[in-house]
Amino acid sequence: MFTVTCLAILVVMGIALARAFTGPTVYDRILAVNMFGTKTVLFMAAYGFLTERPEFLDIALVYALINFVGVIAVLKFVERYPPPSAHSDE
Amino acid sequence: MMTLEHYNYWVVIFLMMAGFYILIDSNNLIKKIIGLNIFQTSVFMLYISLGKVAGGTAPIAAEGIKTYSNPLPHVLILTAIVVGIATTSLALALVIRIKESYDTVQENEILELDQIADEGPQA
C-alpha cells in the first residue's frame, strides 16, 4: 500500500514539475514549486514507511519548514522587484 | 541488467556535463554559478551512489538491522554541502561587486569594458 502511495505521489510531483517548466507566468512557477515541495514532504513520510524505518520524519518536517520560508522569500522578492512583464517571464 | 547497474553513474555524468556546458557556454555570471552548483551536486550524487549497499539502510544503528550503507561518503558530502553554500555566497558577493563597478554581469560586456580601459590612455 505504501508502494502505491509513493508512486501516486511521484506522478503528482512529475505533473507539478511539468507546470513549473511550462510557466507561463512567474506565479505559475511559484505555485508549481510550492506544490512540489508539499508533495515531497508526503513522499518522504510514505517512503519512510515503505523502507520500514519511519523514524526519519525529521527530514519531512524540515522540508515543510524550508518550503514555506522559500515561498515567502520568493513572493517578497517578486513584490519588491516586480518582474518586467508580470504576465509571462519567457 | 547492465544498464540499470550503471544508470546512476550515467545520470551523474549527464548532470556533470550539463553543469559544465552551462559553465562554459553561458554569458551571464549568475547562470555560470548555477552551472557550477549543478556540477557540484553531480559529484555529491556520485559519492552517495557509491556508498549505497544493496539491502542496506541508513547508517544509524538500530536493533535487528544487519546491513548498513557506507557512512564515510555521507560524512564527506555533508560537510561539502555546507562549504559549497559558503563558497557560492562568496561567488555571488563577487558578482554583486562586479555589477557595481561594471554595471553589467554579462561576460562579453565586461571583457569589452576591460579592453577599452586598457587602450584608453593611448587613444
Partner: protein, 112 residues
C-alpha cells in the same frame, strides 16, 4: 483488528492519492492562473490529512505519530498562508483574473 486498521489506512491513503492527483490534473489542465491556484490549494490540505492519517494508523502510538501530527499541523498552517500570499502578490503586481462568461449569458447579452 489489524485487518480493519489496514483496510482503513488503504482507504485513507487512496483517498489522499486521489485528491493529490486531481489537484495535479487541475494545475495542469486549467487555463488560467487563479483557477489553477484554486485546484492546487483546495485539494492540498485534505490530501495531506488523508495520507498522514493513513500513515498514523500504521505507525501505532510512538514518536513517529507525534512527528506525523506535527507535519500535518505545519502543512495546514503554512500551505493556506502560502497560497494566500501567492494570490495577493499576483493580484497586486497586476495579474488580473480572466472573467469568462458562459454561452447562455453571452447569448442573452447579444439579444438585449
Amino acid at each position: 483488528m489489524t485487518f480493519i486498521i489496514d483496510a482503513l489506512s488503504w482507504v485513507f491513503l487512496m483517498l489522499g492519492c486521489f485528491l493529490g492527483i486531481s489537484g495535479a490534473v487541475g494545475i495542469f489542465q486549467f487555463k488560467e492562473f487563479y483557477s489553477r491556484v484554486h485546484a492546487a490549494s483546495v485539494t492540498d490540505t485534505l490530501c495531506v490529512f488523508f495520507i498522514m492519517a493513513g500513515l498514523v494508523l500504521q505507525s501505532g502510538f510512538t514518536l513517529v505519530t507525534v512527528k506525523l501530527v506535527l507535519a500535518v499541523a505545519l502543512l495546514w498552517f503554512t500551505s493556506p498562508v502560502a497560497s494566500h500570499a501567492l494570490i495577493h502578490a499576483a493580484y497586486l503586481t497586476g495579474l488580473k483574473p480572466k472573467l469568462t462568461t458562459t454561452r447562455k449569458e453571452a447569448a442573452k447579452r447579444g439579444q438585449s
